[in-house]
Subunit: 151 residues, 2 copies
DNA sequence: TTTTCTGCAAATGCTTTGCATGGGA
DNA sequence: TCCCATGCAAAGCATTTGCAGAAAA
């Protein structure tokens, strides 16, 4: 991890922690662990993956607690949920705001491409449909570099 | 429904039917009903909604058959599945190719906004991430016109 | 001490699957 | 007639929920 990544991760962690504290939610070891993992994760983990990581630190942790913590953070707009119909949602605690993704349809890797903002597009869409747009989701599905090699 | 809509719907229906025939799938009344509904639908129905419509014609139809037919059409790229994590996928048989949607977060209405193609964006993303992009999904979530009124 | 959180287990709800029967071609 | 498709019921599975005990404040 690059130095600025660990810095960003730490900032995110503190931001989430402060938010929980300021809203009088209790700071438990399990919540701290989930916060740290979500703040640091670059790979859009599943609930199960977060669960496994928390378990190495707190073996008694239950999956239900992971889901409850994620739901709490979702409600506070501190985690972005990428929902998939095949039952394996992914979570992004590093960038909890709507942004585009590229998703490998073979290995399920998810990355964030750097592209221009979609704000103008959002305004245009809102005008044409009469919708008041709150958030969006833009996913490109395909094969990542590695998966193109061994086909 | 405008005349050109019913024309388009009819064309889609025939296209799907021809495809099933040419691939030696059996033409059953249930499949015909699902095809007709999907070809005509402008509202991105759920499997359940398709099921209810088919039932008015063939009361013995089962939900499993609806899902099997949808799966068949998905495999033939004749229906687009919009997957949602809360367990209520939506289907588009009128425009079975990836395209943007606006989705009301209150009443769940889904509409197709008319916007420019995302092809240039797709190429740019592919170049920057090393992905070979196969398809995409762009959803704008917000409140539709009616839902803005009665809040 | 009080209130919230955790962890277990059971429930939920959409979707899929297995299998015997029925119906296209 | 020969398979494929249907329909029923059961299974799957990520996620949610209820509740009693544990732990934060």
């Amino acid at each position: 991890m690059a130095p600025d990544d660990s810095r960003r991760s730490e900032d995110r962690f503190k931001h989430m922690l402060d938010k929980l504290k300021s809203l009088d939610f209790r700071i438990t070891p399990q919540r701290l662990a989930v916060l740290r993992i979500l703040a640091a994760s670059e790979d859009h983990p599943t609930a199960e993956q977060i669960f496994e990581k928390v378990r190495t630190e707190f073996p008694t942790t239950s999956l239900a607690t992971i889901y409850k913590t994620i739901a709490l953070l979702k409600g506070l707009n501190e985690v972005l949920e990428l929902g998939f119909p095949d039952g394996s949602n992914r979570y992004d605690g590093a960038k909890p705001f709507p942004h585009p993704h590229v998703i490998c349809i073979r290995c399920r890797k998810i990355m964030d491409p750097y592209i221009i903002s979609l704000d103008e597009l959002k305004d245009e869409i809102g005008k044409k449909t009469g919708f008041r747009i709150h958030y969006h989701r833009l996913d490109f599905f395909g094969l990542c570099g590695e998966c193109q090699k061994d086909l």
